[in-house]
């Protein structure tokens, strides 16, 4: 929840600040209070929120899939087992299509990356203020709940992938093969028939080009995911800002209902419960859909005015679009990882 006199940029900055635990410049360890303190910690700091949520979601993934794997039967699968199996099969097929080598570790790697990243991206669809508000109410100042909007998280995964690329390059191609790949491309002095005297400068040139290309792989892998999710998160924050500002403006009448002119939080909780009950009644066929929509509109207007409803619509629209983005980015990360590792497995 936004504080008392928070400006828009403060609101945004607050939302983009990780909960950082690290070593202060004076040497003692503790949480950073504000962006400057976090920056001053340098490398020796951990984004506790990023780690917490990514580990939690990773464990959710492991638990979900492990629970199915444990009792996987060859009989007719139940609904949940079916869903998990179809994901596994889909990943397996994708990997088989792309990966030319024979390495049984690639497919589970791809599965882990895809589902884990998807779960982390999915956190982006939780309204931006909810979890930070919960955290705030238990005394945690900063909370960034989408791990993939933290460049450390995405680059951390990309670096792990990069290490695997290097490992398999050396393992499959051999040191000589890998070096030849780095130095004899794209200008091959051997094929050009140049005397050996001219080889070293060309090889150095090739090496510089290829190393850039090699390093670009993890960087693009990590930054692509980060950039997409960060931008998405930012737009959610902006929408939240717009509709918070709008509701502040439109809800003056509402504010005047309360004696101190401040809308208490229980009002919003009551509103959320009312909306939930309305939707539930519709699902139980007690309310017709037409009436439900009308009721929802009235409720939204009542709670925050037109701007609130507009904000809701914007949020819904962007969220609907963002579902595609988060799925696609998880898929791209997975596929690129597989492609890079496939390239690392290729002989020349």
């Amino acid at each position: 929840m936004s504080g008392e006199a928070q400006t828009a940029s403060e609101y945004i900055q607050h939302h983009l600040q990780n909960l950082t635990y690290g070593r202060h410049p004076d040497g003692h360890w503790g949480f950073a209070h504000g962006a400057e303190e976090a920056a001053a910690m340098g490398f020796w700091a951990v984004h506790v929120d990023t780690m917490f949520w990514s580990l939690l979601l990773g464990l959710v993934f492991l638990f979900m899939f492990r629970s199915v794997a444990k009792k996987a039967t060859t009989d007719t699968p139940s609904g949940f087992q079916n869903a998990i199996e179809s994901i596994v099969e889909w990943v397996d097929n994708n990997v088989k299509d792309v990966f030319r080598g024979t390495n049984k570790y690639i497919a589970p790697l791809a599965l882990t990356l895809f589902v884990w990243i998807f779960f982390m991206n999915l956190m982006d669809l939780i309204p931006v203020d909810w979890l930070p508000w919960v955290a705030h109410s238990v005394g945690i100042e900063y909370q960034k709940v989408v791990p993939t909007t933290d460049v450390n998280a995405t680059m951390g995964m990309a670096i792990a992938v990069f290490v695997m690329i290097i490992y398999y390059s050396f393992k499959i191609k051999g040191v000589g093969g890998f070096m030849a790949e780095l130095t004899m491309n794209p200008i091959n002095p051997k094929e050009m028939g140049l005397p050996k005297l001219f080889w070293p400068p060309l090889m150095i040139f090739n090496f510089l080009l290829e190393v850039v290309g090699l390093l670009a792989k993890p960087v693009s892998l990590g930054l692509r995911l980060f950039g997409n999710l960060y931008a998405g998160e930012l737009i959610f924050i902006l929408i939240a800002l717009v509709f918070a500002a709008g509701s502040g403006w439109m809800a003056e009448g509402l504010q005047s209902l309360f004696h101190d002119g401040h809308i208490p939080s229980w009002f919003y909780i009551a509103a959320a419960v009312t909306v939930a009950v309305t939707l539930w009644l519709n699902l139980k066929n007690i309310l017709s859909t037409k009436r439900t929509l009308l009721l929802l509109l009235i409720e939204l207007l009542l709670v925050g005015g037109l701007a609130f409803a507009g904000g809701q619509l914007m949020h819904f629209g962007w969220a609907a679009f963002h579902i595609i983005v988060i799925l696609l980015q998880a898929f791209i990360f997975m596929m690129l990882t597989v492609v890079y590792l496939s390239m690392a497995h290729e002989h020349h």
Binding site: L16, N18, T20, G22, A38, A39, M41, G42, F43, W44, A45, V46, H47, T50, M51, S54, L55, G58, F61, L62, F65, R66, V68, A69, K70, A72, T73, T74, P77, I84, E85, V88, E89, D92, Y105, A107, P108, L109, L111, T112, L113, W116, P147, D150, V151, N152, A153, M155, G156, M157, I159, A160, V163
Partner: protein, 156 residues
Amino acid sequence: MNINLTLILQSIAMMVFVWFCMKFIWPPLTSALEERRKKIAEGLAASDRAEKALDEAKQQAEVLIGQARDQATEIIDQAGVRGNQIVSEAKDDAVGERQRQVRAAEADIQQAASQAREKLRSEVVSLSVKGAEKILGKEIDAGTHARLIDELVAGV
């Protein structure tokens, strides 16, 4: 947006998760899928076989039904022949019996008629003798007139 230790920790977390997945999630799931695929393939093959067997059984059944039909026709034919035979035998029996009865009746009738004729004749003889006695006024000597009387009797 600071690069810090999170980078390394995230790499470690990822490697651990990937390891867990490789070890405890992927193998059982894929082997289950593979086994089910095999099972389904076997099931489909079995159903193919069953279908073929069904076809064969149907053909066999048709042959059997044909045979049974032929047999039934034969039996019916035989029965018809036998029936006709029985009927004609019965008819022959009946005709024989009728003829026999008719013959017996005819014999009875003839016997009765000849008895009656005999009786009549003897009565005629005695009547004629009595009549002649009366007419002649004397007794006809049966011995002397026997030829005459016999002629008379034969004439009756």
